[in-house]
Symmetry: D3
Subunit: 144 residues, 6 copies
Amino acid sequence: MINITHKSTTLRKAIAQAVVCVSKPETIQAVKDRTVPKGDVLEMAKTAGLFAAKRTADMIPDCHPLPIEFTSVSYEIGEMEIQVLVEVHTVYKTGVEVEAMHAASVVALTMYDMLKPIDKGISIQHIKLMEKRGGKSDQKADFS
Amino acid sequence: MINITHKSTTLRKAIAQAVVCVSKPETIQAVKDRTVPKGDVLEMAKTAGLFAAKRTADMIPDCHPLPIEFTSVSYEIGEMEIQVLVEVHTVYKTGVEVEAMHAASVVALTMYDMLKPIDKGISIQHIKLMEKRGGKSDQKADFS
Amino acid sequence: MINITHKSTTLRKAIAQAVVCVSKPETIQAVKDRTVPKGDVLEMAKTAGLFAAKRTADMIPDCHPLPIEFTSVSYEIGEMEIQVLVEVHTVYKTGVEVEAMHAASVVALTMYDMLKPIDKGISIQHIKLMEKRGGKSDQKADFS
Amino acid sequence: MINITHKSTTLRKAIAQAVVCVSKPETIQAVKDRTVPKGDVLEMAKTAGLFAAKRTADMIPDCHPLPIEFTSVSYEIGEMEIQVLVEVHTVYKTGVEVEAMHAASVVALTMYDMLKPIDKGISIQHIKLMEKRGGKSDQKADFS
Amino acid sequence: MINITHKSTTLRKAIAQAVVCVSKPETIQAVKDRTVPKGDVLEMAKTAGLFAAKRTADMIPDCHPLPIEFTSVSYEIGEMEIQVLVEVHTVYKTGVEVEAMHAASVVALTMYDMLKPIDKGISIQHIKLMEKRGGKSDQKADFS
Amino acid sequence: MINITHKSTTLRKAIAQAVVCVSKPETIQAVKDRTVPKGDVLEMAKTAGLFAAKRTADMIPDCHPLPIEFTSVSYEIGEMEIQVLVEVHTVYKTGVEVEAMHAASVVALTMYDMLKPIDKGISIQHIKLMEKRGGKSDQKADFS
């Protein structure tokens, strides 16, 4: 685990995405209509994502435990895919990009788990960092 | 959460994959040579995956807690990507495909976390079920 | 911890309740209209309850870890209170009444946490077992 | 999850209660005499409460992980009820009232679990915030 | 993780020990008299041990999650040491020796943590399996 | 739990050890040669130790949750024993000696678990604090 005792505390932000790709438009429609038998997919997955952001250091060996001070989960719903976006903020010595990516992956996995009874062809794609801000290597534009 | 009290206990298996895509061949070489500054990527990620398979029900709301009776993590190392394969077995009333997918995603996220100091362009792709066996809807060939 | 190695495995069910008492009707209205600033209270609290049922043995010292095979969370919404009902099933050697009570309390606490910015006078009342079935001491009528 | 990155760090305190109501005085006597078959109820429940205070963010979706810097559990034992009082302190950007309420509920649930073999009529009542201090909305008198 | 899907379910028991060695007899006396400032050492450590037995698979990578069906914690108090004994039972496909050793180590660490303000010279010794029964390689005599 | 709200935040370090004693030199050789059937013992145990340092407050009742800002795990391999050394740093109000001891014990238990198929005579010895720095009671020399 990298030594961060000497680093300075600053506001740090990250946005990560995951994309849930379905095999038929009816799956997306059922999500929108809240008619998926297992329940309200977008709400349940969002809640799972909030927990996942907070528990990243429990799952990834080298991640430092850190004060998650903001998490949001949002969705862009397309015809055959749902883009999950997770934004995490902290005021601490290290960034929250892995926290945002971990939360995005758990949101997507929760959607997969809730949708697999109605669609056997789902996969999760493009888990990646979209933007980060606040450390020495800012990427992309300001997303405040 | 689906009611499984009436279901029969059988041997169930699942294999899931995640693919870690890097932005330059030197990253793959460092993994192979065990010269990544944060440590032995393949070994550390494998251990994280073993824990993740067991803790799936802690992260995914509708997943039943179940007796994970076998987990293996293996890798196919290409020129610009590492394919993670996780196989999980149980003898229980419901399958382990989400467990395998969750473990594969945590293995990939651990690799991302360990490699990001040396490669800023990594993404995780193609988290999906490869094979399952033992419930009413077997997919693909026997993988025993 | 009580020794249950010799007990027989049977279907066991429990229903527990918790009651969230608010201080003004507007609070209930906001829950129904899904206009609470922190989000969809009923959905988020339900998800928290699913996790809590599964993690009871992590929080209560003498509870045995057991296979939660069904959990449901439902609500009865009154003018000044919301009754939370959690039903849990297992096929195992010991009952799930503490699991149902623990989940009901976490559902209620999640509602408290989400509602406190709009209502400072909330309390949680009447956490108790409503019905249980399947061990040597059935209580109340069949609730199947 | 509410964004607290901009809030100022101050000493914050909360006291919450839960009340365990029994159905016969012999139950209270057994607790006092430390003759409950499952063990020393007050000590075991106190320990469960210390853990619960620390793990609130694991159970309640919108709770921020925060540095619990003091927790105490105390009891007021009446003829037919035991009042549980939990006090939590932090020096952080948000209060600890849900932490105190969560810990109080887990203390009460542990007592329920240990007492149910000798008393089938126990309920948990009046989980509520008694006092808080240190944020913008102090309630009640100083309890230092 | 070893594949246990094909193994037969039998009653399995294990007893493990850990020894807490203090640097002066006054430390032992304070434990016996329940005058340690941090609280009742034997009771609090016992409760921590109950949780630890149940959470072994969360801490040790290759341990299978399994149904802990009995755990007891007992003490032999000497002049300069306290022997911790933890007994764990399951009816499952693999043994519980690591569960017993893990619980014994957490009991001992809890005692260390509570005693360090009054004794700076404590160490933990002799964490080992004392007896096991029920798999193919019984060790020592029956301890039922 | 001791009240630390008033304490000052400083850099604090601790080193703890645990010693894994085997019953034959072949066991040590298999660890060195990475031929233990269960996998790479030193790497897997190290990863388990990183998680354990971070989760100490989940296992030990009175330990405060704190920002682990550095953890390292190293080994001294002798003829019949392996000495595990864990170093932990934080910048906080209380020390990390129990965190270091807890991590050392989990590293040793993981080694025990992986080695027991090839050596039935393993014990864990001498879990103790080697050095600490940064609070009011420094012990031993500077280990920076």
